[in-house]
């Protein structure tokens, strides 16, 4: 994938839901396989024009959810709308959706180009689009080779080209970075950002939490088929982190310890400072109470938790 010149610069996430509309909305969506509840009353919403990260441990129900959204599985209960159209009528929204589900699947004895042409014919997309996409994912020089000769990373890039065939408004990608080398991952990240700038919505399932943290505006966390969190990524990351409190006098730190402990947070002394695991917005309240108690010469620093730390905390049942 051709990188744009500014890929090394960290980018700000786009404003959430610039259009105010929802690309995906599910209501109590469930899918049961026998007695196993793969997706269990899932209610989430993804604003249009965002990159939404979809995370969860193996078996959390991510792929099942994606298959439900693509009309490949029939829900046991619940409803959903995709691009404003009901899940029960996939023919109304799938022409505007591109998808890469699990490992990309191709006809191994056909060339990369023919594999794309098969889908271009089926979707009624112009053949010229195939050439453009092969160029975009940098497979033009191997386009005539049978796919069985492609490396995992090349197959993954062909899968991304396949998902982009309809020039979709909504792109659903399931582990698109699988098999990509570090440069490929950076290029993928850059591509996703450029697609978002074009107003597309990207629903991105990935285990690479560090990658998601860099590109997502919105997050959906799933465990045991239920949503642990669905909302702006910033809200989740700000929700809980660590406050580091420093003071010249130990008595002032004692006061801070008492205030934080009474508020129900864990305080850990660390080389003459305190580390308080709490929501970052507790900082102003702590500062106010400390001043009232007489601790006027303290310095409070907020440290965000990483997405990985938040993910683990949510899995352990910490919903604060």
């Amino acid at each position: 994938m051709t990188p744009s010149p500014d890929i090394s610069q960290p980018e700000q996430a786009a404003p959430v839901s610039p259009s105010g509309t929802l690309a995906i909305e599910t209501q109590s969506l469930s899918k049961h396989f026998g007695r196993r509840k793969a997706v269990d009353g899932l209610t989430i919403s993804i604003p249009a024009g965002t990159i939404a990260g979809f995370v969860g441990p193996n078996g959390a129900g991510k792929t099942t959810t994606i298959r439900l959204l693509l009309g490949l599985l029939r829900p046991t209960e619940g409803s959903a709308t995709i691009l404003g159209q009901p899940l029960t009528h996939p023919e109304r929204y799938l022409p505007r959706v591109g998808a890469l589900v699990e490992a990309p699947a191709f006809y191994p004895s056909l060339s990369g180009r023919t594999n794309l042409e098969v889908l271009a014919h089926l979707g009624g997309h112009p053949r010229s689009r195939v050439g453009q996409l092969l160029e975009l994912v940098e497979l033009s020089d191997r386009a005539k080779d049978p796919v069985r000769k492609y490396s995992q990373g090349m197959k993954q890039r062909l899968g991304v080209a396949m998902a982009l065939l309809p020039d979709p408004d909504l792109l659903i990608l399931d582990e698109p970075a699988n098999g990509l080398d570090p440069l490929g991952i950076i290029q993928m990240r850059d591509l996703l950002r450029r697609l978002r700038e074009q107003g597309k919505t990207i629903f991105l399932s990935s285990h690479l939490l560090g990658e998601l943290e860099q590109v997502t505006d919105w997050l959906v966390m799933l465990n045991l088929g239920k949503a642990l969190f669905s909302g702006p990524a910033r809200e989740l990351l700000d929700r809980r982190g660590e406050l580091v409190v420093e003071a010249e006098e130990a008595t002032q730190l004692d006061l801070v310890t008492r205030i934080a402990t009474e508020a129900g947070y864990t305080v850990t002394p660390d080389n003459g400072s305190l580390r308080i695991a709490c929501p970052l917005d507790f900082a102003s309240e702590l500062n106010r109470q400390a001043r009232e108690a007489g601790a006027t010469r303290i310095a409070i620093q907020a440290q965000e938790a990483s997405l990985e730390e938040r993910f683990l905390a949510l899995l352990k049942g910490d919903h604060a």
């Binding site: 693509l70 599985l73 699947a105 979707g123 309809p166």
Partner: protein, 267 residues
């Protein structure tokens, strides 16, 4: 459906599909030549007698070519079954359904292309086998006037038309098996087991009932165009056999459509 049909035509370039057609052509030509050689070499036997009697007649050509009919049926069944089931086994079905969510349109377009491929393979098979036999007969000084007479051509066309109907039924049976099994290995296994066990073994002990079995009914249709001694002629009569064949085809289509439409795609 036309988009699905055109898309499927591209996939027929795969060597595995082309190999199926090539095997059909080569095996039929080989069996036809072997039969021809046995007849013209003066060999005798109860199995050869009806063939020897039919050989100089206008039905002589189709009698000899038709000796590979069972093989053609088996190859067509494997080709269609494996081709459809492979969409599940390879996981490509999900790609297809995202681009064409109308499942029945997808299945219909796919079947149209596959049946077209089977019919073209059959036409080539008959043409090549017939040409081979004509050349061989001329080389050996055997008369082929009856084969190329207008009656002979009518017999050839009737045979081709009924063989097409037979292979259409076989293809629809293959589609049903593939939709139900959703795996190449299972689909081909079930298809072959079905032809061999219920249609083969049960037929030996229950002839009266087995004449209604689908593969046998389909096979009766081209069997009715060759001399009865070569057959197999439809014991229930051609019109009844045709009606039953059409009913089998319709039921395969309905069951496949209902199952495929409601099926979860986990592949």
């Amino acid at each position: 459906m036309i988009r699905a049909f055109r898309s499927e035509l591209l996939k027929l370039r795969r060597w595995s599909v082309l190999a199926g057609g090539a095997v059909m052509i080569a095996a039929t030509a080989f069996i036809a030549y072997l039969t021809f050689h046995q007849i013209t070499s003066g060999a005798t036997g109860p199995e050869l007698t009806p063939l020897i009697q039919a050989f100089p007649t206008p039905q002589g050509l189709i009698t000899v070519v038709g000796q590979a009919r069972s093989l053609i049926i088996v190859i067509a069944l494997i080709m269609v079954t494996s081709n459809i089931a492979a969409e599940w086994s390879q996981g490509t079905l999900r790609n297809l359904l995202v681009r064409e969510p109308g499942r029945l349109r997808l299945l219909a377009g796919k079947m149209l292309a596959l049946v077209l491929f089977v019919v073209i393979s059959l036409a080539l098979t008959l043409a090549i086998s017939a040409a081979l036999l004509l050349v061989a007969a001329q080389a050996q000084g055997s008369s082929t006037a009856a084969w190329t007479s207008s009656e002979g051509m009518r017999a050839l066309l009737a045979f081709f038309g009924n063989e097409v109907l037979c292979l259409l039924g076989i293809s629809l049976l293959g589609m049903l098996i593939a939709v139900l099994t959703r795996s190449v290995g299972a689909a081909v296994g079930v298809a072959l087991a079905y032809v061999l066990v219920p249609e083969g073994v049960i037929a030996m002990v229950w002839q009266e009932g087995s004449k209604w079995f689908p593969v046998r009914v389909f096979n009766f249709l081209p069997g009715s165009t060759v001399p009865p001694a070569v057959g197999p002629p439809p014991p229930q009569g051609y019109p009844t056999a045709l009606l039953v064949a059409l009913l089998w085809m319709a039921s395969f289509v309905v069951v496949s459509a209902v199952v495929f439409q409601r099926q979860d795609v986990n592949a």
